[in-house]
């Protein structure tokens, strides 16, 4: 009996030693949710938006695809996914009610999605009944720090957004949202 219990303990220790959950320092959905809330707040507090009311002339704002200058590989689908997520977020959508600002996805989305089901829907009269007044460009950057021996990695992401008035070509809003993701464990193995 003693032999069995010793063996069981040894096997348990072997299998449990160093046990930990795999982690990643990639951007997560939660980061985008937080970012859109912060973005909506930043827009509301900006000079351009504080002057606006439900009676203002509507603005139609088109999102450009993310320019990815971070170390992350974000596929075109993921880049458009970020745009769709930001545009579809409740804090952003609510800007229509009290500020008369609507956010739309640009035609480039339809071009990139050609041949897919989304494109079939999007191509038909895509954006034909709207007059875009502003555009939002976004650039993602990141800085990476790795622990000694390649153990542990931290990525700091900075997502910069700029809204441009297409009539005057002047920026009306600019802000950067940062978040940090840390993962333990070897970056290679």
């Amino acid at each position: 009996m003693k032999c069995w219990s010793t063996l069981a303990i040894v096997l348990f220790l072997l299998s449990a030693l160093g046990c930990q959950t795999p982690q990643t320092s990639r951007i997560a959905v939660d980061d985008y949710v937080e970012m859109t809330a912060a973005m909506a707040q930043s827009l509301r507090q900006s000079d351009a938006f504080t002057r606006r009311s439900p009676a203002s002339e509507p603005w139609v704002v088109s999102f450009d695809k993310v320019l990815n200058l971070s170390s992350e590989i974000m596929t075109q689908g993921e880049q458009w996914g970020v745009v769709a997520m930001v545009r579809g977020a409740q804090p952003i959508n609510s800007l229509w009610n009290d500020k008369r600002v609507a956010f739309v996805i640009p035609a480039q989305y339809a071009i990139d999605q050609r041949g897919t089901l989304d494109a079939e829907r999007a191509d038909k009269g895509f954006g034909s009944e709207r007059g875009v007044t502003h555009t939002v460009t976004s650039t993602f950057r990141s800085v990476t720090r790795v622990g000694e021996g390649g153990n542990g990695r931290t990525d700091v992401y900075a997502c910069e957004f700029q809204m441009l008035d297409l009539n005057t070509n002047e920026p009306v809003w600019l802000d950067t949202f940062e978040f940090k993701r840390t993962a333990t464990g070897s970056v290679r193995d």
């Binding site: 982690q23 320092s25 075109q76 800085v143 990476t144 720090r145 000694e148 970056v187």
Partner: protein
Amino acid sequence: MSDQRSTQRGPINRGLSFFVALTAALAVLFGVGCKSDMRPSPHGKMRVGDFAGARDMVEAQVEDDLSERRYMLDRMRAGVLNLDAGDPVRAERWFADVYDVLRTQGLNEDKTVRSVVFTEGVKVWKGEPFEQAMALVYYGFVQASQGSWDNARAAAGNALFYLRDFEPEEGGKPERRIDTEEIARRAAAYEAKQRGEEPEYADGDEYLDNGYVAEENNFTMAYLLHAISSQQLGRDAEASDYFNRVVKLSPQHRPLVKRLRAGEYNTIVVVADGLGPRKIATGPGGALSRYQPIDTTRTPARVSVVGQAPTEMPAITNLNAMALDHRWNNLEDVRVAKNVLGNVLIAGGAIVIAQGIEDESFEAAAIGAGIAALGLLFKGTAKANTDYCDVFPHRLFVAALNITEPNTDVSIDLPDVWPPSSATLRSLNPPLTNQAAFHYLRVPTDRGLDPAVIEPTNEPVTQPIPEGNLP
């Protein structure tokens, strides 16, 4: 007396029997795990240019469970072969999974002890550093093929990152290597200067170059992809730093870099040929692993555009050399020690068994058998695991072309080799945007005098969305 002996021997015998059975079971269980998973090889199809056939074969073998050892390896193979077969969109799906696994840390963290005690086969395969870097450069090719130069830049940066030596210098001091925060600071200072603002230089920084190149290794292809991608994004200072690095690593590519710097191109063609080295177990008890070249051709490729003089392309990546430079050997000492210990235990066990037989002692014989079985277990699990990505090419070449006429054919030849290898990239068009087009093709090596003809599948969309719908 006899009853006394039998009562004493009973528990001992049971314990010994258990020990022998357990050791033998472990030997069988983990002994089989040390061999690599042998699957039908796609090499035959690849040699004759049937990349779609090779892709189908490999895709049918893909493991879907992330905890399976071959999860990432299967996807890496499928991604490479999809690009070989001219389908970057399908390749992207596989490489996205590969990237996801590479960016997941601690996947094998809880398996380190078991991999030392038992076999490396318990770990999820993440490949050698050079395989990780190659996979990321291939992901970059996939992105560039689809016009995503920003992602190609990120992929090239990742490839360089995974070849980085994270160990501190001898003496315990951290490496004297500028980190990415420093790079970002210098880059910000440079960009501020470009905007006419006063940059915040530290003392002496103004004499340095732009400071974009963070990772230092010899993976020229990744540096070049980074340089071209940066240039396509209008980041000329960054591109310049990476071009400098390419010339420093490979002076024979100076003419190519000169052409690229001058922007005298609108199409990048990456050519792959041959098969990369195979991983074999070698040394005592197969405890060591090494990469054995399959193809060894060293002649440059020749690229010809109709109406333009042929250009010689020296190889920018040779996987045979890369495999020697960037691979793990962290478990080799353990495996060698296990092999030696296994030999000692087997020999010792045999002696004890012989002694037991001579003395007519069941206990001694059983102990000897247990020791020998333990020795077999150690030897069986000492063999190096030889799983490797068997679809990477032997070499990569890069050509910068200026395609000015629609339906231009580009031919690639590998002269002075037998059988002669050639391929034609048919009906290339000038790019519709101000960004360069990217094409990848793999030259089959066993087609004899019958050149492969490849139709590009990533031609730009020729029917834009009606202007009326654009913002």
